[in-house]
Subunit: 140 residues, 4 copies
């Protein structure tokens, strides 16, 4: 079960002091926070808060892998746009293609592939993605 | 030069996974990030990005002290409101009174007093607050 | 139940890129991480890992308040010493006096008072400090 | 100019509350902090503090890409070992192979490839790795 580039969700984030490092640019690990905020808001755009998915469906998402290329550094006060597209949906995993840009898409800051696994919060083991989620992703 | 509680600026922030800790609540240091975002946006509401103040006026702000009381923990997905009021404006310092609440002001998460010093970015020593800033703060 | 300045525990921490911000100094919230590492290691010096206290005694510690004065900024590669002394032990709370310095105690970076509450992890409400902990703190 | 797996440097890091998230495990972005600490200490093992390289040689390192696979979650109080091996040394770049494990190497937490670019701190553009560094890496 797979399909190329479903939703074209985008979320904005401002760069604050907390995100920068002594080099005057965003610290390399902190871009992963921006990526996660966009995935979280993408899920919320379907009506799913993760705290509710844990409580009601007993599932959570764990990141299995990240491949990220840093193109151009972001700096204090930059307003970034982070995209989130579910590129490949497997039985228990979703692979997201995500980009971070400043202003327009050609001012690319970073691009990443993030593979996420659906986890049963009681057993902490991989669990089949609920049908309702798969459906929403496929039709988004 | 002092005056009680000028502006009543408020800024919103969502709690993401990055903000929480293994106790299931926001990690105590991370509330200081929310406080700073609100101070940064308060300054931006006067038209001042800090990256421009550094570049154009050669000034930056360093935190001299924080007194924070944690009232109730914030959790994943909470939408927080952070207030920022410049309570006391001295020659080189400003003391902010800030609150963090969830939903309504009576659902208080934390309250803090944050004293900030204006710094000359070349000498890294305290510098008198520019008149334009003091004016804006007093009339806000 | 109170007593002045028991233990004089000290812990070292190196400043890495992750700790700094675009001003070239340690970000103000990150000093609270150093303070917590020292409190955690102070507790470990009595043989108590917090993950074990949660599992075996059903208790955890929540920070109720922090008063911190920033004296001199720390920078990349600095090796900091963080002290931790249990200054006042109440029924459910402990107030720590902590200092952060670089090299020798007179090169003071920050000093703080941190009040911590013992929490019952099932009810998430304050709980009397276990006698074994109070004893260890008083005789340390 | 390339060579397979030079140094087998290892550095230890304890997992603190600051590193965990509401899922009770280390937040996925924070493993990148552990990776960086190990690279920084690997460089320091040759006698090079990065703050000195900036000051004396006018160079710094920017991360160009990260490929990380998360194998098993790390938790509060875990003591992690982070390895750092310079796998491929190009004109301006170094690609590191890094592993994070708990206790013994077979209890693998994460493994990563991190490509780093040498930057001229005045121009902020890629710069040839200084010969002294390349030599040290090749003979390590």
């Amino acid at each position: 079960m797979s399909s190329p580039e479903h939703s074209h969700f985008a979320w904005k984030a401002r760069v604050y002091w907390e995100d920068t490092d002594g080099g005057g640019i965003v610290y390399y690990a902190n871009y992963l926070k921006f990526l996660e905020r966009a995935r979280t808001e993408w899920l919320r755009s379907f009506g799913h808060a993760q705290s509710h998915l844990i409580r009601d469906a007993g599932i959570a998402f764990a990141v299995a892998s990240v491949n990220i290329d840093y193109r151009k550094p972001a700096r204090l006060d930059d307003e970034l746009t982070i995209t989130c597209a579910a590129g490949r949906i497997g039985g228990t995993t979703v692979t997201f293609t995500q980009k971070i840009y400043r202003g327009t898409p050609d001012d690319l800051v970073a691009e990443a592939q993030v593979r996420v696994v659906c986890i049963d919060t009681r057993t902490m083991r991989p669990k089949r993605l609920p049908a309702f989620l798969t459906q929403e992703m496929l039709t988004s």
